[in-house]
Symmetry: C7
């Protein structure tokens, strides 16, 4: 996929541009994201949904949770390296808490995302470190409304309507492209998210292998569904 | 494009001159700028205009905003790496605010640009970092008048009358060379900017895919137009 | 096993992703774990068991203890480099003690594991260090119940029901897969752990060559069994 | 021009002497100076003149100013990297101001030059940085009289009577060698400087493409001429 | 012994794992130990013995002492680089003294050994240093009883009954394997140690070329024997 | 002159000995000294003389001064890199002044030389810097008498009777060897120095191209002669 | 002498062991010692003698002194790099003085030697520096008696009866081996030292080319002999 000759070393050190102006290490970090299990989000007019595959390699090992609450009004799903994700999620939680403490109100979600992206960017420009091998989907509700924002390993973020990252991302995005509508409601968004996740997982689409979360504009509280609640949604498909 | 033999390593470390006195890493960083979407600016006698392409890769993802206000009297458009741009824009905003606080007046625009260029230069001379892969077009009005200034990854800046950077820059510059006149007024400048952007974008020239901003000498306030306002300008073309 | 050509240097520096998004140094550190003697754990409804092989290379050298108590309510078994393990175990003990001191209660086990994994992750992202060549099985009981958690050299952790690491891990896991049941009691879990360890050791399965520990929900005290107690359990097999 | 074999790496790291005792990186930095537009100076008995080419690549871009005032009694022209020059010019201005503040009088010009050369030297001896790719011509009047001093990237400086640096330097120096006389007066020196600049520029010798400055012993004030003043001088040629 | 091809660089930097999970630099440091003169120890029920070869290369140079007292109740013998050993022995003495000062009692021997091993481990995980090329045999008596503990360059330690390190280690270990018994008394242990040392030295087994020390549970004082005392023991062989 | 094969890298990093125990970088720095213009000194019974060639490359550029006063009782001549020399001369002046301030008397000359040599040595032993490419001849009079001391780039110094460094050093030394006598007086020493300098310069031996200085035991004041004084001495040859 | 292939890089970086457990850089530093002029010492029952060759390359340059007093009761001779030696001798003098100040008595000589060896060892284990290219012979008298101790570049030291280092060391050692006796007196030791030095110098054995020093148990004062005193001793040979 990457021919050896033309790169000749440009891809081995983070602080170096290739002659075409590319940062290979950042692109390789994105490959770590693509190897992660699928995570996706759908923004509705009245809320936003996150869904991830958390299939375990063995019945004796619990699948790793890939949806985390950051603060009451915002949560995150990720694809990529678990250890890298945890470091950044801790940073996000600390930032959210200290914002609440200092300003007496929930952190604006785009501000929170920028903070995480600033850290990510720093790890692409300075020597002696590698980029973070993780991408996030932040989902939340604040004064400005409903947010679904993706970050990548280079520190870029994108405001999205419906988005998927990880191994099965393309299949999910194809479904979103065909079926997403701008006036979708949160209940439909949950079903759309589940259908997309089912499409992207080749098998094993069961409540145990899935994490599902939502936040809506009514109670503005990030909620991760229990396995039985997920089962109820699956039954509605 | 770059023959391997004559360079033989001079292009791999930022702190090294080639035998011809070139800094390849800075030149490669400029390639990252050339890969960015087109951004352009036109200076009029009574104001200055910025216009950028913000086309999104997918209808489910919002295009990334590439025009940002720095302070009331100055804004910026960029081409290149989003994460790198954000870091420098934050620096610019902090610098502008602290100047206002200390001196009680808006930061002179060339001083602001020099500050950003000093940061950029530092990243081309010290080891362990890479240059910033981003170019800016600063547009503003201060005591000295109307300014359109371009910065490049090496820390150089140029005072311009009309200028474009990014993928479609050459087509826009060709148009400017043919049609720009020194006594252009802000209203004409807006239309010239839009025509140049249309020329540089191969397709997809619609209000949704465009950002447009201006500042004039009358209210000295940087204004980013809404999509419907952009649509109105497009209708006038 | 690793063909030289396609890697060409991506596996030599910790801070570098390979083109496929892999961190070879972390994977090689896991090889150090696989070369360690087998350690395993079994979670029961009312407690959790750890068992390790501590066979010595010579009758004149005592086998190295590979089960350590961290705090009264939690212990750990490891496979991999002894020196690396000791450094992290010291960190875990200090963290547990300072938590007790500050909050007046035992450290939640998952929090403790996260702390150790944060240290591990840091050693995979920053230059000038190598990853820790050790994997742990943490076993403990806290307010949330019974825990068996595995950590790997990259800073990832997995919540497990039954798990083995080191040289003979696969044989033990195969046995667990066939025979582990969710409603297993601590007494049965001890016997299952011993059977799995016997399976994974090719010979030398004697009380002298084994370490065995458990903690249950009744007295919530991590207990490492004496050689004669281990002998008693072996007789029951 | 530089045969690859005999150098074999001696030219790639700043802190290394070649077997012949040369510092290639410093020599390459001088190549960056040679690629810059011509700057020149002429010392008269009663003052000193600086002249530079500031031709722009495009009519839509203003030429970059390459003559800067440092303090009332001293100014500078440069050839080479714009960003590098600006960093050192800022240092020179700060040093001149702080000298005025501390000692209540203008900084002696040779002291100022030494300060800049000390910074330049430091960047040739320590690892992790590259030399400054810029040469200066300092022109000023102080208690000791009239000064024209050139600095190079290695931190050496030369006291000169007439001197040129950059792309067209040799042609200008040839003219100076033929026509410079020690008893030249400032008015003649201006004309000599313009003739030398004309000689070194292949075409485009117009007032718009030229910067001209002087300082004399009568008012001891560094003065950069306006375009119309330059035009007047050109008419006298 | 080490084929060049498969290693290809994994053995040159301390912070790097080989694909098999090995740390070659630590293994090479152990080679420095193997090149050192033989040092050995024998644990008895009522004490422990250390013996080392201190043969000198020339009659005009005194053999280097390789048994050192750390504190009254503990001493050490080493094989490997003299300079490295001295640095760690100084650390051990300081640690022992400060423990006595703070807690008012002799430092527990295993705690002391862990401290030294922590330093050793650190030098195997961080860049810019090499591992210590020395192995120790600590011998001492504390509240927990009699101790003979070996440390290696990687920071691992082993509790031993009888152990030898350095050039002639294998011959000594073979003898120990044949003749060591668990109920050995200190007087017999001295003779066994001398026999093992004689076996491991090919010639030159004289009192002048030997260092011998013991500590027993009766007076708990580490004693290095004089040459004439060693001669007396040799006569008993 | 240096065959490529046997060195194979030992000459590229300052902190490395070659297999023969040589420090190539220090030797290469000495090549920079050899490329410098000739500087020489002659010690008489009642004083000491320094003389250097300061020929300029062009009549429009003044030759660089290579004799500097350090303090009233001591001066220095150098050959090699101008920028490097200036840094060390500044250090010498500061050291001499602070000694005068603290102890109330002139700095002993050998102490001053040692200080400069300590700095030079440090730059040959630590990574990330290169050695200073300059040699000095210190000349002075203190309580212990008359001193002529040479320093080299490695930090070694030699007490000399008559000595030359730089391009023409060998010719001057040959003359000294033939004609220097231990009972030479300062007036004769000046003439001997001039004759040696004439011998070492192939042409251009005129008062303008020469610097000459002396210090004697009568007034103990370092004096640099003016061009007309030099001319007077030349007439006496 | 060193075949290129088997080393393949192990000899280029100080912090690296070769597969055989050797530190090549330390060994190469010892080569620098072997290239130094001969220095030797002889221990008598009532004192100790140092003698060195200080032949100069030219009659116009004084030979460099290689015997230095550290404190009244101890002196040192060295072979190897002059600059490196001076740095360590300064450290030794400071250490001796501060010991006198703090404890009110002369520094024990072995303690002083250990201090110097600790510095030497540190420069063999940490990156970014090279080892010291110098060996010392310390000679002194303290409470414990008469001492002659050699240190090498790796930080090892040896207690000696008679010892030589540098270019002619082997010839001197051969003489010592044949003629040294344990009951030698200081007067005989001086003559033995001179004979050994004569043997090791191929020609030029004159009082001017020799340094000689002694310390005895009667006045415990390190004394460097004058040239005429050396001549007297030579006459006695």
């Amino acid at each position: 996929m990457f021919p050896a000759a033309p790169m000749a070393g440009y891809d081995r050190a983070i602080t170096i541009f290739s002659p075409e102006g590319r940062l290979y290490q950042v692109e390789y970090a994105y490959e770590a994201v693509k190897r992660g299990m699928t995570a996706l989000g759908v923004k509705a007019v009245d809320g936003v949904v996150l869904a991830v595959e958390k299939r375990s390699a063995s019945p004796l090992v619990e699948g790793t949770e890939k949806i985390k609450m950051i603060d009451q009004h915002v949560g995150v799903a990720f694809a990529g390296l678990f250890g890298d994700a945890r470091v950044l999620i801790d940073q996000a939680r600390i930032y959210a808490q200290s914002h609440r403490l200092v300003y007496g109100e929930p952190v604006p979600i785009e501000l929170l995302v920028k903070r995480i992206c600033d850290i990510k960017q720093m790890y692409t420009q300075h020597g002696g470190v590698r980029p973070f091998g993780v991408a996030f989907l932040f989902a939340g509700v604040d004064r400005k409304g409903v947010h679904l924002i993706q970050t990548d390993p280079g520190g870029t973020y994108l405001r999205c309507k419906a988005r998927a990252i990880g191994t099965g991302a393309q299949k999910a995005i194809d479904l979103f492209t065909r079926e997403y509508t701008d006036n979708i409601k949160i209940d439909q968004a949950i079903l759309l998210a589940l259908r997309a996740l089912k499409e992207s997982m080749e098998d094993g689409f069961t409540a145990e292998n899935i994490e599902l979360a939502k936040i809506d504009v009514y109670d503005r509280t990030f909620k991760i569904f229990s396995t039985s609640e997920v089962q109820d949604f699956i039954s509605k498909l």
